[in-house]
Amino acid sequence: MSAPYAKLPGWADYGLIPVINLLVAFLVAGLVVMLVGENPLRAAGILVEGAFGRGQSIAYTLYYATSFIFTGLAVAVAFHCGLFNIGGEGQAYIGGIGVAIVCLSLDGVFPWWINFPLAILGAGAVGAFWAFIPGILQAKRGSHIVITTIMFNFIAASVMVYLLVDVIKPAGSMAPQTRTFLEGGQLPKLNWLIEMFGLPIRSSPFNITFLLALVCAWLVWLLIWRTKLGYEIRTQGHSPKAARYAGIGEARIIVITMIISGALAGMMALNPIMGDQHRVQLDFVTGAGFVGIAVALMGRSHPVGIIPAAILFGALYQGGAELSFEIPTISRDMIVIIQGLVILFAGALEHMFRPQIQTLFATLRPRSAGVEATSGEGA
């Protein structure tokens, strides 16, 4: 017998609850700031100012957000299939090889607008390959995807160190990185987009990969909610038994989903490599793969949620850097704590305030609480 429950209107479900969770996270973070003897309001001011205060800071925030959109989408696609792809970090890192191959060999031959699509394919293909192996191991051998993708993060890191130190480092160079790409391996900036609003920018890493990220978000939406493949992915994710019943091959759908997820994670490499540094450096992913998990959780695995969640984490990255610069007692580690609290309240404790809010809604506006849904006549 199904227990009746009050259903929240969409805006409260997807808007109000995340905002409340976020406020609580910041409240607790404020207590932590007080604990080290600083004024939380001042810290919050610096953080917001640092993330959105000037054109420059907005550009940085969006630059970080770009990376997080890719990794967030990667985690989300896998989530829809009931798979927890923790390997975004490694898939993005190894995806750098795809970008490097295209840019190092063609940057003197073609202009950027020919190299960019090729690099997208390269990064996607290498990232997809890195996710394909755990995928096929899960599908055919039952090796748990969480374990294998974590291990593949380490393998990716080792492979990249080896490649950067021993293989693709230019002869005579001391730094473990590739040579700097020529013009043909450098993406245009998007600074004009922000300058349009009258916010001047000196220089920033914000580049057209951001637009690619938005296109990918739209494509993911299309894939998951409009295509037959997406339908099969969701069926498998919600109920593997129903998928079996519907004749959806479990192994096939797991492998395809992981390939798509890995390709999205791999494309993250475009943003720092082609968009900003114009070379492949050690550790260029800087944790974006893991932030993607938080972004997907907070964005409810929906592109419309993932984009704002990615911008939020971009803001925490950028504003947090400013904060630790302005108030030295608040170190980088404190920023990690704040991020952790956001993940805790927005992700893990997502439903903590839901019952109270549901009761509130049911009392205030019984009509909005989905009565017609649950009281459907006998039959």
Binding site: T227, I248, G376
Partner: protein, 510 residues
């Protein structure tokens, strides 16, 4: 009338805006067996949960043995002498009977003394009520009927004077159910009060003294059982007249559509669940498979549907052999004209998180008619789902609604609509009316008969003996993985009951 064991006055309970119980008044006289019936969602379980302290009423009062009592937790209920036997047993499977009985009443840190006490108490209870169980048996090794006895003993051990049983016979053979009723009668004789929640009208008539009927959160009537009829109760439950018997004409069996030969199936633990089963289903007939849950029917059904692989045997569908060793996909079978209504609609037949229209093509989603290139043709799917909702009277008729928000009966109709509207040649159906209310059962039965009359072959598996008897043209009885007998639709319940319990078919035939 005797003193009241339980008296509820003006109980109200809302979940959000849904009023699950409205102004419930109920008086259960001491030392009687009191039945509570109602459709799914009528509020029976909510009311009993309030009585047992899982929920608290928004308003109203509870008196136990004439004393006003507040019940906030199950512990309060136990202290007031109320015990509950749940539909799904709350037992620790790998504990012994004794360990389960003292669970929650362990006493001290060391178990020795409380075990000894429990053992002697248990012996007394067994003597007094005829509830024999080996106290040292491991729960998971006991048959379901005995597990239920342990639940009853558990309640009595805690000093329950009032025993609530929630759908107690759903998992029992007719013989086990009869035994349970004898136990309940014995309990009544000893002065205990029994509350029996069920949707089986026959049980109400057989055992209760009084019966209360709930409908849409309200208590619509209380009757003395001796002064009412099954027809009256059914009408009170549904709010309109219902046809309790299925009306059907003679079967006109045609060609063989589905043949099963020597099928043997193991489950995931390696236990052989289906042993050398053979039978045929012809066009224009319904073949019913009766049996107590867990005797291999589910595995048989899933193997024919292509979900499970077989160890040995042959299945022939419309003259073509099916590869039962694992290569055949349920999707292929669908293309070949086999439709399958699975037993477990919540996890297999439907994706509850999906919108209704998405479920309306589950399994048929790769048919070209629902596709536009790589995209699903949503417009067409939604339009068709809307039509089928009208045709099958699925309420609320909104194909965009999340499937979890439909009642059990409507969910089942969603599955049936999907499978029947694809016009299959062979339909295999598992538990078509499990957890479905009386009004919808009538409809579903009618549709199944219609399928038969259109010349389809229907294989029906159900643990509801009444259902198998009233729908089937031939009845096969399964016990311990084998088909132990075949009977016509006029077989008596006792005869089938014996077969279901594994008593030799020769004796049963007499």
């Amino acid at each position: 009338m005797a003193e009241a064991a339980i008296e509820l006055v003006g109980i109200n309970k809302s979940f959000g805006a849904v009023r699950a119980n409205r102004n419930i008044d109920l008086n259960i006289p001491k030392g009687t067996i009191h039945g509570i019936i109602g459709e799914n969602g009528a509020g029976k379980s909510t009311l009993m949960s309030i009585l047992y302290g899982f929920y608290q009423a928004d308003s109203g009062s509870i008196s136990v043995d004439g004393k006003p009592t507040t019940i906030h937790t199950p512990n309060d209920a136990i202290a007031a002498g109320i015990g509950m036997v749940h539909q799904h047993f709350m037992l620790v499977e790998n504990f012994t009977v004794l360990e389960n009985i003292i669970l929650g009443a362990e006493g001290e840190a060391l178990l020795g003394s409380s075990i000894a006490k429990a053992r002697s108490e248990l012996e007394r209870l067994e003597r007094d009520y005829g509830l024999e169980v080996d106290p040292d048996a491991i729960i998971e090794e006991l048959p379901v009927g005995l597990q239920q006895r342990v639940e009853i003993l558990k309640a009595l051990y805690r000093g329950a004077d009032i025993l609530i049983l929630d759908e107690p016979t759903g998992v029992l053979t007719p013989a086990e159910a009869d035994h349970l009723f004898r136990i309940l009668a014995q309990l009544k004789e000893e002065g205990k009060t029994v509350v029996l929640i069920t949707h089986k009208l026959r049980e109400i008539m057989a055992i209760t003294d009084n019966v209360s009927v709930m409908r849409q959160g309200e208590m619509v009537a209380t009757r003395k059982t001796a002064e009412t009829t099954v027809e009256e109760l059914a009408e009170l439950m549904v709010g309109r007249r219902v046809l309790l018997r299925v009306e059907k004409g003679e079967a006109k069996p045609g060609d063989f559509k589905l043949s099963v030969k020597g099928l043997t199936v193991k489950d995931s633990r390696g236990v052989t669940m289906v042993k050398d089963v053979s039978f045929d289903v012809r066009a224009g007939e319904i073949v019913g498979i009766a049996g107590v849950a867990g005797n291999g029917q589910s595995e048989l059904l899933e193997t024919i549907a292509g979900i499970r692989t077989a160890e040995a045997g042959k299945v022939t569908l419309l003259g073509e052999e099916i590869d039962v060793s694992g290569a055949t996909d349920p999707g292929d079978l669908r293309d070949r004209g086999l439709a399958h209504v699975p037993e477990d609609r919540h996890h297999v037949g439907l994706v509850l998180q999906f919108e209704e229209n998405e479920n309306s093509v589950l399994g048929y989603h790769d048919e070209p008619q629902y596709l536009k290139g790589p995209f699903l043709d949503r417009e067409k799917i939604v339009a068709e789902a809307g039509e089928n909702m009208k045709k099958y009277d699925i309420r609320p008729a909104n194909p965009m609604l999340k499937t979890a928000n439909f009642s059990g009966g409507n969910q089942q109709k969603i599955v049936l609509a999907r499978e029947m509207e694809q016009d299959p040649e062979v339909l295999i159906v598992g538990q078509p009316t499990r957890g479905v209310d009386v009004g919808a059962i009538e409809f579903i039965h009618k549709r199944l008969i219609d399928m038969r009359d259109q010349g389809k072959a229907v294989l029906l598996i159900s643990v509801e003996l009444d259902e198998v008897r009233s729908l089937s043209d031939r009845i096969l009885v399964m016990f311990d993985g084998r088909i132990v007998g075949e009977r016509g639709p006029d077989a008596t319940e006792g005869e089938l009951g014996l077969l279901m319990a594994g008593v030799e078919s020769k004796e049963a035939a007499e």
